[in-house]
C-alpha cells in the first residue's frame, strides 16, 4: 500500500512558468545585445598573450588597415590625411564622444602605414583618439 502511493505521484516539470523564464531570457538578450555597426574588411589579426578587453563598445571608433595598406574607417575607404578630420569630428560628437580607437590591422601590414596612422591620430588633437587598441587574437 505504501509503495503504491508513492508510485501514483506523477513526475512532471511545471510548464506554467516556462513563458516567464523565456521572457526573462529574452529581455536579457535584448538589453545586452549590441548590433555590429560595421562589418569592416577581412583582416588577419596578429596573436598576442597579454590582451585586454575593450572598455565600452559604443564610444569606440573602428579602423581597419589591410595588408596592402588601405585604410578604412567605419566601412569607408579613407586616406591618411582624412583620418585626423574624421577623428576630430567623432571626438566632438555630443552623444558619444570618442574615447578609444580600435585598430584592426592585418598582421602582414608594414609599419610604415601604421606609423602614418599614429601620426594622423596624434594630429587629430583629440584626447580620445590617443587611446589606441591594437586588436589581436588570443595566442594559444
Amino acid at each position: 500500500m505504501k509503495f503504491e502511493g508513492k508510485q501514483k505521484a506523477k513526475p512532471g516539470i511545471p510548464l506554467s512558468s516556462l513563458p516567464d523564464i523565456v521572457f526573462l531570457l529574452l529581455i536579457f538578450f535584448m538589453v545586452s545585445s549590441v548590433f555590429k555597426e560595421f562589418s569592416g574588411i577581412p583582416v588577419i589579426l596578429p596573436d598576442a598573450k597579454r590582451i585586454e578587453k575593450l572598455a565600452g563598445k559604443r564610444d569606440v571608433a573602428y579602423m581597419w588597415v589591410s595588408k596592402q595598406g588601405d585604410i578604412f574607417v567605419d566601412d569607408r575607404p579613407v586616406s591618411t590625411g582624412q583620418v585626423s578630420t574624421i577623428m576630430l569630428a567623432k571626438a566632438r560628437d555630443a552623444k558619444h564622444p570618442l574615447k578609444l580607437v580600435s585598430l584592426k590591422i592585418d598582421k602582414g601590414a608594414e609599419m610604415g602605414i601604421v606609423t602614418d596612422v599614429h601620426e594622423a591620430l596624434r594630429n587629430a588633437d583629440a584626447p580620445g583618439a590617443l587611446n589606441v587598441n591594437y586588436s589581436a587574437k588570443p595566442a594559444l
Binding site: 596578429p46 608594414e110 609599419m111
Partner: protein, 133 residues
C-alpha cells in the same frame, strides 16, 4: 436581445501562442548577439608636441628591422626573448623607458609581438619612436 448577445461575447487575446512568439524573439536575439568582445593591446599615444627629452641611461632602444630581428642595446635577440631581457633590465632600473623603433618595412605582426613581450615583462613606460625615413 441582440445588444445583450454582443455584450456577452468575451474579448480575449490568445495566450497560447505567446510562448511561441517569445521563443522566436529569443532565438533571434540569441543568434544576432555577438558574445565575443574585441580584445587587443592597449596603448596611449603621446599628444602632439609632448616629446620630452630623457636621460640616455633611462632609455633602452628596441629596434626591430624588416626581417623581424630585434636589437636591444646593441644586442641581437629573438622576439620571444624580449620579455626575459627586459625584465632583467627593469630590475636593474625600474625607471627604464623602452623605446620601440621599427623600420617602415617591418611587419606589423612583429611589432605587436614585441609590444606583447613588453607587456609580459610588465614594462609600463613604452615609447614608440618614429621610423627613420
Amino acid at each position: 436581445m441582440l445588444v445583450e448577445k454582443k455584450k456577452k461575447r468575451e474579448t480575449e487575446v490568445p495566450m497560447a501562442s505567446l510562448a511561441d512568439i517569445a521563443f522566436l524573439l529569443l532565438i533571434f536575439f540569441l543568434v544576432t548577439t555577438t558574445i565575443d568582445v574585441d580584445r587587443g593591446i592597449g596603448l596611449t599615444l603621446p599628444a602632439k608636441g609632448e616629446e620630452t627629452e630623457v636621460r640616455t641611461k633611462n632609455i633602452s632602444n628596441l629596434l626591430i628591422n624588416a626581417t623581424g630581428e630585434v636589437l636591444i642595446d646593441d644586442e641581437i635577440i629573438s622576439i620571444q626573448d624580449i620579455s626575459r631581457v627586459v625584465r632583467e633590465k627593469l630590475i636593474e632600473n625600474p625607471q627604464l623607458i623602452l623605446s620601440v623603433k621599427t623600420d617602415r618595412l617591418t611587419k606589423y605582426e612583429h611589432y605587436v609581438q614585441a609590444l606583447d613581450q613588453l607587456k609580459i615583462a610588465k614594462a609600463t613606460r613604452i615609447s614608440i619612436a618614429e621610423p627613420e625615413k
